[in-house]
């Protein structure tokens, strides 16, 4: 069977134009997807049934037993951490938040190790952004800063920027100027009309220099800044100010390099400054397909986009204290539920070691690095293949992912609802 307009549940681009061929049980062909999408849909090797570890031996357990044990571990814990969420649909995230609430635990999503600093900057100065179609239809200048879309968001250029013709930009490739700012010459940099190569750690200084020029204070810059010549700085600032519509996209190269949230704040303030001359927007290149959805869902239920601690009864948020990495590093939590992410692969070693010491439960369709740290793993359907639900694209546009066929596994929502029901009953609520 051929299904059209399929939503790709891999990266934050959330492309919704894939064509997928299935035989009713598995996917046999993918059109329009990038290599990452092909790998996601074609290379989907599932864990078959729930597994639990005793010593270093794994054994299969029934779904009912696994669910009960997961609930008991969480009920037993004094300070449970519910982590992950960027790889599942919003409905499951919502149950997760209510589960954390009733447990008095901490819930956190993968922003904690990706765009958390961007969120902190936004909380200081705000966020002048737009939907991606606004860029596609209008932008005559696009900057990628510390982002390498060709590798991480392969279709970003073809759907939204360089290769995407729009209403006011009929021939995008010719009419749209591309600027890439990075510490190394990436594949994306090779496409740029202007490649700005910065010395590692120099982002903040370069942003400040650009701000000074845009403010009309270019004379304070007398020589190169972090390896960027004065001429190039002036040229880029000029290009931006003369743009009819400019758009900055930034990635972890800016968010996670020295300065972190201060870099992002500086970039946002540059954008604000440019808006005094023309129209400019800035947007984070969110990684996982529904990490932004986890921020959204957390916000409307708890008020905060990530790192929410219910231990005091109210929702409490303090990144650096209530963020997963910090909680794990302090060896504070005594049980962890990992849903739809792989902290085993992305967390610092000390955190992973703590996860291995405490009872860690993973709800995930696949065997991954976290499997090796956990005590119990419950496989589930993959959203976008055999489960459906809401996802939020990197720009906030909500899209309903499609279920392509009925699989053998329950969805994240079903598993979490069952755990929630047991916990709720035990708590007498």
């Amino acid at each position: 069977m051929r299904v059209e307009d399929v939503v790709c549940t891999f990266c934050g681009c959330l492309c919704d134009d894939l064509v997928i061929e299935t035989d009713g049980k598995k996917i046999v062909g993918v059109e329009n997807g990038c290599t990452l999408a092909n790998e996601k849909f074609m290379g989907d090797h599932r864990l078959k049934s729930p597994i639990r570890r005793e010593g270093d031996r794994w054994s299969e357990v029934s779904l009912n037993d696994a669910i009960r044990e997961a609930a008991e571990i969480l009920l037993d814990a004094d300070r449970p951490l519910l982590y992950g969420w960027s790889g599942t649909h919003g409905e499951a995230q919502s149950v997760g938040v209510h589960l954390a609430e009733i447990l008095g635990g901490v819930i956190d999503n993968t922003s904690t190790v990706c765009h958390g600093p961007s969120i902190m900057a936004i909380q200081e100065v705000g966020h002048p952004g737009c939907t991606l179609g606004q860029v596609k239809n209008r932008a005559d200048v696009v900057l990628y800063w510390g982002a390498n879309p060709i590798e991480a968001h392969p279709r970003h250029l073809s759907r939204y920027t360089t290769y995407a013709d729009g209403f006011f930009v009929k021939n995008s490739f010719r009419e749209r100027k591309l600027v890439v700012v990075d510490v190394r010459e990436t594949e994306s940099a090779a496409l740029a009309d202007e490649f700005v190569r910065i010395e590692p750690g120099g982002d903040y200084a370069v942003l400040s220099a650009l701000r000074a020029i845009v403010r009309g204070r270019g004379e304070v810059i007398t020589g190169p800044v972090a390896g960027v010549s004065r001429e190039q700085l002036v040229r880029v600032a000029d290009l931006c100010m003369k743009a009819k519509f400019g758009a900055i996209f930034f990635g972890l190269g800016l968010t996670m390099s020295p300065g972190k949230n201060k870099n992002i704040r500086n970039a946002i303030e540059l954008t604000e400054e440019l808006n005094r001359h023309t129209k400019f927007t800035i947007s984070p290149m969110r990684g996982h397909w529904n990490v932004y959805g986890s921020n959204e869902v957390f916000c409307w239920i708890t008020g905060y986009p990530y790192a929410v601690d219910f231990a005091r009864g109210i929702a409490f948020y303090n990144p650096g204290e209530t963020t997963s990495v910090d909680i794990l590093r302090r060896e504070e939590c005594d049980a962890c539920l990992v849903v739809a992410s792989d902290p085993g692969a992305h967390f610092p070693r000390a955190c992973a070691e703590h996860l291995a010491r405490i009872p860690t439960i993973q709800i995930d369709p696949h065997v991954n690095a976290t499997t090796h740290l956990c005590r119990l793993q419950i496989p589930v359907a993959v959203t976008g293949i055999d489960a459906e639900g809401t996802a939020y694209r990197m720009d906030g546009v909500p899209i309903r992912t499609r279920k392509l066929f009925d699989g053998d596994h329950p969805s994240d929502t079903e598993i979490l609802e069952r755990i929630y029901a047991i916990v709720k009953e035990a708590k007498g609520a």
Binding site: E4, D5, V7, D16, D17, G90, S94, H98, E101, I102, I119, I122, Q123, E124, V125, G126, H127, P128, G129, C130, T131, L132, G133, Q134, K136, N137, R138, R159, Y160, G166, F167, F168, F245, E272, N275, T278, K279, T281, N295, E296, C299, W300, I301, T302, G303, Y304, P305, F310, R312, G313, I314, A315, Y317, T390, Y392, G396, V397, P398, I399, R400
Partner: protein, 566 residues
């Protein structure tokens, strides 16, 4: 079969012509009934003020920009938080509460129906998700068309039927309720960092003016026979001297509908400024009220501001930028492709700011100067003028000249020079307040047809019983009690169930979402229109098939069907 009998209620039900009578109200199966059946639950209202459930006809509580207000404002989240208690979830936030926070606080005030003031069609799914998490109010969404490319093209081509067709297709696709125009044309101009300064200025690249958009949309609205009228946020919001724009806009409104207004102007306080700069800004409420008094075809809401901290959020992106240039606090902006814009900034309305004092006075003046309370609804453009929890205080101000004078002593002493407020004697009575907080809304929104806003048998059993005894209270003097009474009902009843008691929510909610489907003849059906489909696929970044909001997002959808007028 669940019956409930409310005895000894002091009922004001303006739509039924009841102006204050002690009576019993019977409820059966979620509806007001002739009798509640034997063995039903009985509530003794003890002569307390009993009204149909409150209806907010303009409030920002759900969707992309509201949630971004939360996202960017941990300081606001900390400013109002409650823990999990009984069936109540954790809540956070003061001016932009979490969805449960909104729902519980509205419920405590006796509100059972809320219209979200602005939903961008492309992001409608988000609004509906938050509606589901706002369990104690029936919700509906104003749908933004101010910068809609297909609308502007149809208006430019003077094609009324096609304009209406775009509206019909979009409302059905996104499960929207009504047409909202926010700074029509201006939000498209803002795509280039510009704004429009008059309703006769052309929208860049589209060859239409706001006046043409507004005029055509009013007619398209009536062609589709939508329950509500066009809901308009005028151009030039917050600009000194903008009352001229507002008067010109009111002049555009024809009288096309005998059941309700043909044009609803929202948060008119922000659109009633005289003067030329922030230094000489003054109230033009008298001019605006006169225009409204002369035209039964328009209705307005106040857009009252109250002193203190809040967050402004609107689809009017260029306005938020202007405001940011004054406040320099923090600024978010979010333009939506082919449709609209939006912006958010936090603000503090200060008693020490003459401008803010003038704004505060104007809102009250509008309510006191518009003669017919059915034409002026009580609202703050929540949270733009103030969070909705300030409504009780606004009611008290409108009911008591003494309270107004007392407040007047605390504000900038020059205020009286710029506003007529302190010369106005009018004190609204209980009946007028009942009109301005529910009955007028039900009529203006066109939702009396689904049993909203009244307590006549067959209506939805949404009832608010306030701990206020009108036989015993003089609101002109007892304004403190009036304020406290409207802040916390004794009982809030939603669809026949007691959902809140003395300010505490006691059951899990199950709201409905009300939306409109205009059934159009084949020549107006755009789903197969080649040009429409082609443009959609070329310029949106979402496939046309993935755009409509699926039924699962409205677990209890209530659809109002309309037919195209012949």
């Amino acid at each position: 079969m669940s019956g409930l009998l409310i005895r000894n209620a002091y009922v004001i039900d303006p739509l039924a012509g009841i102006r204050g009578e002690i009576m019993d109200i019977a409820i059966l199966d979620g509806k007001i009934a002739e009798g509640a059946g034997s063995g039903c639950e009985v509530i003794d209202a003890q002569g307390c003020l009993t009204l149909p459930g409150g209806i907010d006809s303009h409030s920002h509580v759900s969707g992309t920009k509201v949630n971004f207000g939360r996202y960017m404002s941990p300081e606001d989240m900390r400013a109002g938080r409650t823990s999990r208690r009984g069936v109540m979830h954790v809540t956070s936030g003061y001016s932009v509460p979490t969805t449960f926070g909104n729902s519980y606080r509205y419920s405590a005030m006796g509100y059972t129906t809320v219209l979200e003031g602005a939903m961008a069609p492309l992001e409608a799914r988000h609004t509906h998700e938050e509606f589901t998490a706002t369990p104690h109010q029936d919700m509906m969404a104003n749908t933004l068309f101010d910068g809609n490319w297909s609308v502007m093209e149809a208006v430019r081509d003077k094609d009324l039927r096609r304009t209406a067709a775009v509206v019909a297709w979009t409302l059905a696709a996104v499960k929207g309720f009504a047409i909202k125009l926010t700074n029509p044309g201006g939000t498209e101009a803002w795509g280039w960092g510009e704004d429009l300064h008059s309703i006769h200025q052309q929208v860049p690249n589209f060859g239409v003016t706001p006046a043409e958009i507004i005029g055509t949309m009013i007619r398209a609205n009536e062609l589709l026979d939508l329950p509500h009228s066009v809901h308009l946020h005028c151009n030039n919001l917050g600009v000194p001297g903008n009352y001229q724009t507002t008067l010109e806009t009111i002049d555009l409104a024809p009288d096309l509908n005998s059941r309700r207004q043909s044009l609803y102007l929202t948060h008119v306080q922000f659109h009633s400024y005289g003067g030329t700069t922030w230094r000489d800004i003054c109230s033009k409420s008298e001019d605006i009220a006169r225009a409204v008094n002369n035209r039964p075809q328009v209705a307005i809401d106040m857009g009252q501001i109250m002193f203190g901290r809040t967050t402004t959020m609107t689809a009017d992106g260029p306005m938020e930028w202007r405001l940011y240039m004054l406040h320099h606090n923090k600024w978010s902006n979010h333009d939506v492709e082919l449709e609209t814009g939006s912006g958010i900034i936090p603000v503090y309305y200060s008693r020490k700011s003459l401008v803010n004092c003038v704004m505060w006075a104007i809102g009250l003046e509008l309510a006191l100067l518009v003669k017919d309370p059915w034409q002026c609804m009580l609202a703050t453009d929540n949270p733009n003028g103030a969070p909705f929890v300030k409504y009780p205080e606004i009611i008290a101000l409108l009911m008591s000249r003494k309270f107004r004078d007392k407040e007047g002593e605390k504000i900038d002493p020059r205020t009286g020079h710029y506003v007529p407020l302190f010369s106005l004697d009018r004190e609204l009575d209980w009946y007028e307040i009942a009109v301005m907080t529910r009955a007028a809304q039900a009529k203006a929104l066109g939702i009396t047809r689904i049993g909203k806003g009244t307590l006549t048998p067959g209506s939805e059993a949404d009832v608010a019983i306030y701990p206020l005894d009108p036989a015993d209270l003089d609101p002109a003097i007892d304004f403190e009690q009036v304020m406290a009474g409207f802040a916390r009902t004794r009982y809030t009843i939603k669809r026949g169930r007691v959902v809140a008691r003395d300010g505490e929510v006691i059951v899990e909610g199950a709201n409905s979402t009300v939306w409109t489907r205009a059934n159009v003849p084949p020549d107006m059906d755009l789903s197969a229109d080649r040009e429409f489909v082609k443009k959609f696929e070329q310029y949106y970044t979402v496939r046309m098939r993935n755009y409509p909001v699926q039924d699962v997002y409205l677990p209890r959808g209530v659809r109002i069907d309309t037919e195209v007028s012949p």
